[in-house]
Amino acid sequence: MGRYVIRRLLQMIPVFIGTTLLIFVMVNVLGDPIQGLCGDKACDPATEAQLRSEFGLDKPLWQQYLTYMGHLFEGNFGTAFNGQPVIDLIGTAFPVTIRLTIIAIIFEIIIGIALGVLTGLRRGSPSDTTVLLLTLVVISVPTFVTGLVAQLLFGVKWNLIQPSVSPDAPFDQLVLPGLVLASVSLAYVTRLTRTSIAENRRSDYVRTATAKGLPRRRVIVRHLLRNSLIPVVTFIGTDIGGLMGGAIVTERIFNIHGVGFQLYQGILRQNSQTVVGFVTVLVLVFLVANLLVDLLYAVLDPRIRYA
């Protein structure tokens, strides 16, 4: 196990370098950051030259990347054009998005798994068909539609929540945005659990558990669910990274100042330092989440042992 973890951690290094390099190159290819700063007008050549040398933009790209990576290991994520250190932006934005993600994951686990178990046990029943249809609708409708409709109904029409989240984004204001963010994954969790339960329900070990005279509840929770949740846990684990990076739409709709919001602003203003910094952290989150999922997998399924 220990050797496996070390090997996985070592594997992260090339992945990390590769992804950050890609992002770095892409941000610089997509547009000239200095040009973006000046807007529609042409930049004053003197100011431009000064900015270029100040941010190191007059050096070749590979040198810029190396300098950036070097600073990164000292915990320096660079400075945004407005003079704010990127690390400060990260420090304020990530806690908000982490709160949002936690709420989304809780929704996925509670609602998704519960619906999946109920429908999986009653495959072909009217309730199963209804839930299946609903999940299909949720999967097909884009998040910005779900989000705007939810905001309009709950926030404006029925006045149940504040349509716009305040800057410090406490948990209670993030419930609806969390549900919106979770919606698509929640539908997938439901479907995945349903299929898994329906498949394992007829398995030999469930029959054995019944033949042992165990109460139905115990057969379902301890024997059926335990086995059926293995693929679901994997999905939810890998989804953590996706939710954190993919909250751009949800955060825009509900005016949440999290990672998605900052990324959006960064891209819009060609603020390469911000974009690269945030994406770098997201890449790390993704890698760590994936490693944890793989380790959890071994805990859930004793047949899998990493050497």
Partner: protein, 327 residues
């Protein structure tokens, strides 16, 4: 009588129609007795057992008639909650494929101990001690060290021993073993069968041994019930059947055992296939494959004729079959 099955009917509702899996099966087992139920795949032997245990998949399955008297009570009339308490505690089942029948993500100790936790209300710690005792009893070496291991870490024979241990946990009065040795190597088969027979004697349990292996039957069974297309076609004490079968199907089964004195000759096989349960032929279900079939066999369903005090045969020509004369 420990267990008496009377005129049991089970059907499955499928898309294609109603499959009549069990059509009026009656048999009985006493304490300490071994009944071997013999028959091809699809003859209804396993479905009968599942109906007795109460683990039939309902739906699509449905018990459409009959009684299962266990210690005088009709199990089919019990509420599910009472029925559950009988399962595992008073009657237990051993399945064919121990690898798929054991839960892959729970340790064998947890799966064995669970019987004591659920039925006897024991603590986890006591249940674990009991699990080790059980593993010792079915002679699994190093039981104390292996109690925390998972099914995939055991060999096929050891896994089947764990299944047996699980069935024996609460010392039930009846064990149903559904092809317990089919998935095992021949040498291991004998060990597992011997162990089962020994424990049965020790605890004076009734045993229903479902099998298609006539070799196993001869050694351990007291009586045999041969099933075909959801019916019993012959029941007899084990030695009578080997001496002289009273049904052409039993004869066919016996003739298809490979024998040393027929080495080099073609092995006999009953021609044709078992009938489709959605569409069982009228008259005797075996008539399309029967070498003795006459016109009456396609018309009248043979009743279970009384051959002797302990023998029954569902063949219009049981006398001729028994004497092995051609008609």
């Amino acid at each position: 009588m420990l267990l008496e099955v009377r005129d049991l009917h089970v059907e499955f509702h499928t898309r294609e129609g109603v499959a009549k899996a069990v059509n009026g099966v009656s048999y009985s087992v006493d304490a300490g007795e071994t009944l071997a139920v013999l028959g091809e795949s699809g003859s209804g032997k396993s479905v009968t057992a599942q109906a007795i245990m109460g683990i039939l998949d309902v739906p699509p399955g449905r018990i459409s008639g009959g009684e299962v008297l266990f210690k005088g009570r009709d199990l089919l009339k019990l509420k599910e909650d009472q029925r559950r308490k009988v399962r595992g505690a008073e009657m237990a089942m051993i399945f064919q494929d121990a690898l798929s029948s054991l839960n892959p993500v729970l340790s064998v100790g947890q799966q064995l101990g669970e019987m004591f936790i659920v039925h006897r209300g024991m603590s986890r710690k006591d249940a674990r001690t009991k699990a080790v005792e059980l593993m010792d009893r079915v002679r699994i070496p190093a039981a104390r060290e292996r109690v925390g291991q998972y099914p995939h870490q055991f060999s096929g024979g050891m896994r089947q021993r764990i299944m047996i241990a699980m069935a024996l946990a609460l010392e039930p009065s009846l064990i149903i073993a559904d092809e317990p040795t089919t998935a095992l190597d021949v040498t291991v088969q004998a060990q597992v069968m011997d162990l089962l027979a020994e424990l049965q004697r020790e605890l004076n349990m009734g045993l229903i041994l479902i099998t298609h292996d006539l070799g196993v039957v001869a050694d351990v069974a007291d009586k045999i019930a041969v099933m075909y297309a959801g019916r019993i076609v012959e029941t007899a004490p084990v030695h009578d059947i080997y001496k002289a079968p009273a049904h052409p199907y039993t004869r066919g089964l016996l003739d298809s055992i490979p024998r040393l004195d027929q080495k080099g000759q073609d092995l006999y096989a009953i021609k044709g296939l078992p009938p489709n349960l959605l569409n069982i032929p009228p008259g005797c279900a075996f008539n399309p494959r029967c070498p003795r079939a006459r016109e009456v066999c396609t018309r009248d369903e043979p009743p279970l004729y009384e051959v002797s005090g302990t023998r029954r045969s569902a063949c219009h020509f049981w006398r001729e079959t028994l004497d092995d004369v051609d008609i």
